[in-house]
């Protein structure tokens, strides 16, 4: 096995901790989402939801808890989509030539960037969860320590697979683009449908059929499913909607993420294979 990706990982992590503004914004931003959007929306949704009678025997969760899973997913999405931008900067500043002219196999660059992006996502997710618990998110309610540990691992597994998929994708666009503006444009264009045509912030059951179909295959919805399943449970209601996740549902969601990630690796590998950096 080739460990060249660790070199790329090492350098990218040096940059991550060195640029304090980058680091702080990466850590504070998701917490801000929770604090402002979460608390504001939760006040509204809970008022609307309170008029619907609860289902006996099914635990009811507050909107804040429901959307915390969405914020985790969103944070991971944004961080991962932008995670490849370092490749574009390196390319524009000529730094990529050192790497491209070295004996390092090109897929190792993709792996290194994916690993560092995943690490950043893990750190952010931990912060969102810690901050969420602090402001009243009821994740892991009634779990034993062992159960909580398994739930955490499950969440990280979903987050990891999802972020690697989008980092491959981001790396593929970055190596193909000429300017950061172009990359920014593409990413902005993509985040809208991915984020809003998903179950991250609201239930999809009231969506029109087309949007519902999109949200069902959307990788972001798969991630949100996984996080809710592990953090909240397999049977709960929120805003009067009954959520039940079977093991098969969750395995399917994970499988979709794996397929997405493998496909994105294919795209990235191809883009790096044909890339000419001089």
């Amino acid at each position: 096995m080739h460990y060249g990706f660790l070199t790329i990982y090492w350098r990218d992590m040096i940059r991550f901790v060195r640029f304090k503004t980058l680091l702080i914004s990466a850590l504070v931003q998701p917490a801000l989402w929770m604090a402002f959007f979460g608390i504001a929306m939760s006040a509204n949704f809970d008022r609307l939801g309170s008029s619907i009678p609860p289902i006996p025997g099914v635990p009811e969760v507050q909107y804040l808890t429901y959307m915390a899973a969405g914020v985790i997913a969103m944070t991971t999405l944004f961080t991962s989509l932008f995670g490849g931008i370092v490749i574009l900067f390196d390319k524009n500043w000529g730094l990529m030539r050192e790497i491209m002219a070295s004996p390092l196999p090109r897929e190792q660059i993709i792996f290194g960037i994916a690993l560092s992006g995943m690490t950043k996502s893990f750190i952010q997710v931990m912060i969102v969860m810690a901050f969420g618990l602090l402001i009243g998110v009821t994740f892991f309610a009634g779990y034993t320590i062992g159960h909580t540990a398994i739930a955490l691992l499950g969440i990280l597994l979903f987050v990891g697979m999802f972020s690697i998929g989008f980092l491959f994708f981001s790396a593929a666009i970055s190596i193909s683009m000429e300017t950061p503006e172009g990359l920014q444009g593409i990413i902005t264009l993509l985040t809208m449908p991915i984020f809003f045509a998903s179950n991250a912030l609201y239930p999809v059951s009231a969506f029109p059929p087309v949007l519902q179909a999109i949200s069902t295959v959307n990788p972001l919805s798969q991630l949100v499913n996984g996080v809710r399943y592990f953090a909240i449970g397999d049977n709960f209601t929120t805003m009067g909607i009954h959520y039940v996740y079977t093991t098969a549902d969750i395995l399917l969601s994970f499988t979709v993420l794996v397929i997405f990630t493998v496909a994105m690796f294919g795209v990235a590998w191809w883009r790096f294979k044909v890339a000419v950096v001089t």
């Binding site: 060249g4 660790l6 070199t7 090492w10 350098r11 040096i14 940059r15 060195r18 640029f19 500043w93 000529g94 730094l95 030539r97 050192e98 790497i99 491209m100 002219a101 070295s102 004996p103 390092l104 000419v276 950096v277 001089t278």
Partner: protein, 329 residues
């Protein structure tokens, strides 16, 4: 180290490279022996960088053959990469990394073992005189130090051949001369050096051999003195009241090997001591009823060699004009 020309480190045959319809490199062939300092001299856009990019495997070899350190550039690019060091034309250092991190990263990229990296980094820092700058950020280094660090980085993996693409572009005159000393020192230790430059003095001072390249073709090759000898012993520049007629008059003289109109005067190559030829020339021109306005006598320089072979002067070869090449970071 004396070059060993019987062992070729770089062998290039009929190399061509096209961008769309434009032929940037148009059938060049040359060899570089072990321990040589070999230069590509030519104006910007002559095809030097394209040629170097093909040899270092950043561009695909389209047509022709190239072997470096015995490995085929087309079929064994990985082996080629392991055998070479590169200093790119523009600064390719991450300004937010330290000197040590730059070298450590490079060593890791090339798969050097930890102990070897450690040893080699201290050797390199000593070689390029950056011992005290180990933990300094690149952005705090001067232009000359950055260049030295890049040369050091290129040598990190003990390459058989070091490629230098315009190594002193944008540096001030003193720093350039010190850089030449470093390059010579590296060569003394046994590293073969291939460099491209558009500075006449650089090619002249550093190289064992030079190939003059223009419009993608090699138009002359040889040791600096051989190239200069092609222009005869001395160069005489005359401005007269009638250059065209004066040229006809002196062309027939036995000691004149060539005469061409250049700028406002005539450039004359001689095959005898210029100090003796000059009075004869002036006498002949005066006898023809033409007056001589200014006179200049000098040994041929690389500039003259270039003009001689290409029929024109180097385009934009003034350092101040190209210094912006460093401006992008």
């Amino acid at each position: 180290m004396d070059p060993d020309l019987s062992t070729s480190i770089i062998e290039v045959k009929d190399l061509e490279h096209q961008y769309g319809d434009f032929k940037a490199v148009d059938g060049i062939s040359f060899t570089v022996g072990r321990g040589e300092i070999f230069s590509f001299l030519g104006p910007n856009g002559a095809g030097k960088s394209t040629a170097i990019n093909v040899l270092i495997t950043l561009l695909k070899l389209q047509k022709g053959e190239a072997r470096i350190a015995g490995y085929d550039v087309r079929t064994e690019p990985e082996k080629v990469r392991e055998s070479i060091g590169i200093v790119f034309q523009e600064v390719t250092l991450d300004r937010d990394m330290t000197v040590w991190e730059i070298l450590e990263f490079h060593g890791r990229l090339y798969g050097m073992a930890r102990a070897d990296r450690k040893k080699r980094i201290s050797e390199i820092l000593e070689l390029v005189k950056l011992e005290g700058k180990k933990d300094t950020f690149v952005k705090k280094l001067s232009g000359g130090m950055k260049r030295r660090l890049e040369i050091g980085r290129g040598l990190m993996t003990r390459p058989i051949v070091l490629f230098l693409d315009e190594p002193t572009i944008g540096l001030d005159p003193q720093t350039r001369m010190r850089m030449w000393d470093y390059i010579r020192a590296v060569n003394e230790e046994g590293t073969t050096i291939f460099l491209t430059t558009h500075y006449m003095d650089e090619a002249d001072n550093l190289s064992d051999r030079i190939s003059i390249i223009d419009h993608g073709k090699i138009i002359a090759s040889g040791k600096p003195w051989e190239l200069k000898n092609a222009l005869g012993k001395d160069l005489i520049y005359l401005e007269t009241s009638d250059n065209t007629r004066a040229r006809a008059v002196i062309s027939s003289l036995a000691n004149v090997s060539g005469a061409s109109e250049k700028g406002k005067g005539i450039l004359i190559t001689t095959n005898d001591d210029g100090t003796k030829v000059l009075p004869l020339l002036i006498e002949e021109i005066r006898n023809s009823g033409i007056s001589v306005i200014t006179v200049n006598l000098k040994k041929p320089s690389m500039d003259d060699v270039f003009v001689h072979f290409t029929g024109r002067e180097l385009r934009d070869d003034k350092p101040e004009k190209v210094s912006t090449a460093f401006g992008r970071r």
